[in-house]
Symmetry: C2
Subunit: 195 residues, 2 copies
DNA sequence: CTGTTATCTGAACACATGTTCAGAACCAAG
DNA sequence: CTTGGTTCTGAACATGTGTTCAGATAACAG
């Protein structure tokens, strides 16, 4: 019969993930204890093990969810012309990352705390994401829309530049996200040599 | 029992720093124990306290040394024209960071493990470094050498882009550092709108 | 109400943590 | 060889670690 028994699985589960997300982002995976997470949730440490087999899986699940969401949200790019596609990518990357600073932070900082298998899986998803940008850059190069010497290098450069925004941008600052997006898009457009 | 040494302050001291540098860079500050560092040095944990008052100071010293070296090595830029100054900055940043990947990694990843005072000091040094680039960008803007909408944003963008190289560049790869420097310089030059 | 079952507590386990310190081991000078 | 000072060991301290599990607790079905 329909599950529904005694309690708060539907509430506690998400709370555990949320607490882990915030604490890992703030203090780092290694510096956060299961007891701290439990305390944030309002529960004893043992109860966490109803929701994750171990601490490592908790980290991995957060990172995997993030990367899966990222890939799913990434706009398709078979239709438009390369310049528009690149612009969409730039704006998408910035707004998606802006909306989930903790997950982004963890995805970049905690790679070394994944075990070998988990690391390989996340790394492959990251590569798939980078490949999407690289594909766009190659397409525009083939069409003569812009001029990049090495698509791989340009890919790294653009992603690093865009992701870096998360380290300083605050919604309460002097610029809105839209303004920052405009300026970054202009820099990217110029950097690849598009008019 | 068999002890190893007698008066090795001049040897053990640097060894402690080196071991801490490597281990912190590889596993993260919080994930590394004093006993691991000691073992790398070939000594018992207690002996480390002849060289550092505590673990926190060990981290801070590494970061402070790195930032001090960075500022000291940064070429002066009062003489040249802005375009050349910017090019020097770009090439300098890339080669300096390339030469000390562990220190760079630590300087970016372990900020949150500094206590409040230490964090403030490192953060100020970082700001001073960024200000140097910002100064260059403003000077070139004033001279009409290039066109950047917002010098602060351009500063962040350029630094993020350049520092990102450390995450993927390997000397054994298909490109030399010089080639990568050339390409990044071209992208930066175009991004700021210089001919 | 009773019976069932998912959820949680609280204690325990075995081991790791940063740090301290008395005393041993060592080196160099006299 | 003796003395003096530096460097290191080995054990200890108090606390924290991830994880397990028997049993208490709560929510539902009948």
């Amino acid at each position: 019969m329909a599950r529904t028994a005694g309690s708060h699985s539907g509430i506690t589960g998400p709370k555990v993930r949320q607490a882990a997300l915030e604490l890992f982002a703030k203090h780092g995976y290694a510096a956060v204890s299961m007891r701290q997470i439990a305390s944030e949730v309002g529960v004893q440490a043992g109860a966490l093990y109803n929701y994750t087999p171990d601490k490592q899986s908790l980290l991995f699940d957060l990172m995997q969810s993030h990367m899966t969401e990222l890939m799913a949200a990434l706009p398709d790019n078979t239709a438009d012309d390369p310049l528009q596609t690149l612009e969409h990518f730039v704006r998408f990357h910035m707004s998606f990352h802006h909306d989930r600073p903790e997950a982004v932070f963890i995805a970049y900082m905690e790679l070394r705390n994944l075990n070998e298998q988990n690391f390989a899986m996340i790394e492959e998803m990251r590569r798939a994401y980078e490949d999407r940008l690289q594909g766009i850059l190659i397409a525009g190069q083939a069409n003569g829309v812009w001029d990049v010497k090495d698509a791989k290098i340009a890919t790294f450069a653009v992603i690093a530049m865009l992701t870096g925004v998360n380290t300083w941008f605050r919604s309460a600052g002097r610029l809105s996200l839209a303004e920052v997006q405009d300026q970054y898009w202009e820099m990217v457009r110029k950097a690849v040599g598009a008019d």
